[in-house]
Symmetry: C2
Subunit: 295 residues, 2 copies
Amino acid sequence: MSWSDGFIAVDWGTTNRRAYRLDASGRCLAEFEDAKGVLAIEAGGFPAAAGEIRERLGDLPLLLAGMIGSTRGWVEAPYVPCPAGLDDLVSRLSWIEPKRTAIVPGLSSAVGGNWDVMRGEEIQLFGAIDSALIPATALVCHPGTHNKWIIVEAGKITDFQTVMTGEMFNLLKSAGILAEFLAGAVAAGEPFRDGVRRGLEQKALTADLFSVRARVLLGNLDREDAADYISGLLIGLDISVGLGLAGDSDLIIMGRPDLARLYEAAAGVAGRGCRTVDGADAFIAGALAIGRTVE
Amino acid sequence: MSWSDGFIAVDWGTTNRRAYRLDASGRCLAEFEDAKGVLAIEAGGFPAAAGEIRERLGDLPLLLAGMIGSTRGWVEAPYVPCPAGLDDLVSRLSWIEPKRTAIVPGLSSAVGGNWDVMRGEEIQLFGAIDSALIPATALVCHPGTHNKWIIVEAGKITDFQTVMTGEMFNLLKSAGILAEFLAGAVAAGEPFRDGVRRGLEQKALTADLFSVRARVLLGNLDREDAADYISGLLIGLDISVGLGLAGDSDLIIMGRPDLARLYEAAAGVAGRGCRTVDGADAFIAGALAIGRTVE
């Protein structure tokens, strides 16, 4: 069976996986998402977990991206160092079964003493470039548990930096003195924007976080506004890192729409316009771009 | 019964309490510590919990300090605003039973837009001054779950700032991508000092933390050194806040000896000498100083 007859692309992350059946023309014929991320699969269980995807979507070639290629995944697909383009991903696919099951490698960066790794965002990024969703030179922000700031120059990723904003918010929500404030949803109103302004100053986060609690106790901040402020503080700090990497490129925010909206608002506070791109669209475009290269 | 015949002082925190029976001359005749912090006591259970202390140490007056005076404690002892001295604590004791059971108030600060609160450290601080463990003008660092930087001028606390270094370390240890590195003890060797140097630069913590994982994955940092580096990073950031408050006063580190050693090492990396003072000694001195004022 040739890949030009269609294949299944899987964004296989740490806690979830999302699979798309794509036909030769690039249409998505079927898809599903479940909680069988790599951490949910026992050692030795990956062939069966992949087989289950084929049972649900068809007996087609599989292109797997994300944490499935990490040391905790099925087979380690070694990181490709930056600068890297789509061709580098294609030439470094890890083939589990020739022409039938491949894992997309992640990228590593060690520019200017900043060590960093990504897995999963690279396929979205190159897909977005290949399908002209974003320009070939840009600064791309990819919010999530681990937000990635990606510098794209002439279609290649030349450097990137991760900021663990989502993970930090989740940790603060799970336990500790701020947890009681963080149960609800976050809105990008004035308390959020206040937090962003403070975050952009890039002060010591561990000091600013305690101050939120003190302000609530002393009546200087409404308890209901604390979650928005803390989210703004973390995203503002994040933005200060990203804008420091490439201050004048076009800024693109690519990812989950709810997070993209918060980052867009924060970028606005920093005086920076941007465009947003849906991450799922970019993933499919990236899978198609890779799939076309397979005989 | 007069307090000059002796009394019991209790450092009653969120998760633990430590009680000392003190005689008229200031000697500690008996003490115990248990896990009955305020969060372990049900609503309405404080009279019984205090009675239990008297059963164990004697039917004496009780002086209670720490979170026992918070909204989650027995009776709220409102914060005393800075600047404040020992006299202000004495005049604002919250009496639960006249001459027999009192709660020491905490302090609040709102200097220069930095809102902050403390409960429990103030009695140690004034005890340390009163017993000449520290000079009447100093910068005092009080490490713990929530490290306090306290500016002391002419025997009064004029300002302070909290940095939630210990809580952040515990959160990172409890879950998330760095947890697997943080199980062991921390030593103040070269990886710790490297972390301190980075922390002192006061960069975005959420970026620096992810970078630790990337460096381990890419072979730039030994897995066994990651905990020391992360501790150094957090304490270095903490030190950068504290030294920014009062750059040239005598620096005193007061608290648990294991933590005090790490802060002493970090202060050394910042080129700053310091002295250390045991927090338990300071607490007893503070309780005695207050006890002497009660008829």
